[in-house]
């Protein structure tokens, strides 16, 4: 009986330590990525003839780096609104997978809190959160909100700053800012693998090889965003089936 109470206290303590501020702190390593990509997205917004206010609105409402690049590119190409919206939908379908993977950890909270967490989920906040869960560490709503809100505010400010400096920076690709996105995914992947027990590493490396091949093959039949989505769905299934 006594030990039960003790473990309860310990549980509350570790959970208590996971504050909003801890979420803010855990977000800091990813901020440079958000700032780099955000500025780039803002610069591209300017080149698509969006006003700074429109760039701010875009980043606050859509809040997805890849989509914002695509929306701007399609605006420049004078694509019809329906095509822009449909493409954005496909590009962001991957969020469904990320939300589905994280949602089971937040089932004890109210619907409103869940919707709040889901609405601000990004590739990076998902990466940071799933890094914790794959290590078996707890996550809670306050910590997740700290992570999400920090990223959200940083993103909007970076996009608007990018829109502002867009007029005199010229080419953001020359500065390497566009690569911040890939570098961040690469780092999150390596961190995921480093957190694995060595017995599982071989299985995951096999899956990575499958995914690389799948994306390459699928991208000759589908748009690159559809290829990413399909490769993830298929290769995660291969992972589940071949698990020992």
């Amino acid at each position: 009986m006594g030990s039960d109470i003790k473990s309860d206290v310990e549980y509350i303590h570790t959970n208590e330590a996971l504050t909003f501020m801890q979420g803010v702190k855990d977000c800091i390593p990813t901020l440079l990525g958000y700032i780099g990509i955000g500025i780039a997205a803002g610069v591209i917004g300017t080149s698509a003839h969006l006003s700074i206010f429109e760039i701010g609105l875009l980043s606050a409402l859509v809040y997805a780096g890849a989509s914002q690049f695509i929306i701007c590119a399609m605006l420049v190409a004078m694509s019809p609104p329906s095509a822009i919206i449909a493409t954005t939908f496909i590009v962001n379908l991957r969020h469904f997978l990320m939300s589905a993977a994280l949602a089971p950890h937040f089932t004890s909270y109210s619907l409103l809190r869940n919707v709040g967490i889901g609405a601000l989920l990004t590739d990076e906040s998902f990466g940071v959160a799933s890094l914790r869960t794959s290590k078996g560490l707890p996550i809670n709503d306050r910590w997740m909100n700290g992570l999400n809100v920090t990223a959200y505010i940083t993103w909007i400010m970076a996009c608007m700053a990018g829109g502002w400096i867009g007029s005199w920076i010229g080419n953001s690709e020359a500065l390497g800012l566009d690569f911040a996105l890939t570098a961040m995914f690469l780092a999150l992947l390596v961190l995921q693998l480093a957190a694995l027990p060595s017995s599982k590493l071989r299985h995951y490396l096999f899956l990575i090889a499958c995914t690389i091949i799948a994306v390459y093959i699928l991208s000759s039949f589908f748009s690159i965003y559809m290829a990413v989505l399909l490769a993830t769905i298929i290769c995660a299934a291969i992972g589940a089936v071949t698990e020992k």
Binding site: I28, L32, G33, F53, E54, L57, L61, A64, I71, P81, I84, I85, A86, F89, N92, R94, H95, F96, M98, S99, A100, A101, L102, A103, P104, F106, N114, V115, G118, A119, D123, F126, S130, A174, L175, G176, L177, D178, F179, T182, A183, M184, L186, V190, Q192, I208, T211, V215, Y216, S220, S223, I224, A227, V228, T232, C235, A236, G239, A240, E243
Partner: protein, 107 residues
């Protein structure tokens, strides 16, 4: 502070299709118990998705078979090395951006 009406409607439309996949799992999963094979499948999503997103950057779609972006691979190698060596998100991103800027300066 001008907002073009068409641009505004596009932004709102894109916002809707972006937020739905984000919040839907959070709204429904809390109501039902997930079957074991499904949670198993979900556990493999992060690594597969991150791999796919990395590969996405290195592929250039053409009319025939997709081409591999050699410059991108060239930037990726030192970035991957630094990621494995430091296991730091921040240092990896800085390395990646610097390498990208350097490679584009040279080529």
């Amino acid at each position: 502070m001008k907002v073009d009406l068409t641009v505004f409607l596009i932004i709102v439309g894109c916002a809707l299709v972006t937020i739905i996949p984000r919040i839907l799992p959070f709204a429904i999963i809390r109501r039902l118990q997930l079957p074991k094979p499904f949670t198993k499948w979900l556990s493999y999503i992060p690594v597969c998705l991150l791999t796919a997103l990395v590969v996405q950057g290195a592929i250039r779609q053409t009319d025939s078979i997709p081409a591999i972006n050699g410059l991108h691979l060239l930037i990726m190698l030192p970035t991957l090395f630094i990621a494995m060596k430091t296991k730091s998100l921040l240092i990896t991103v800085i390395t990646g951006v610097l390498c990208a800027a350097l490679v584009r300066l040279i080529f």
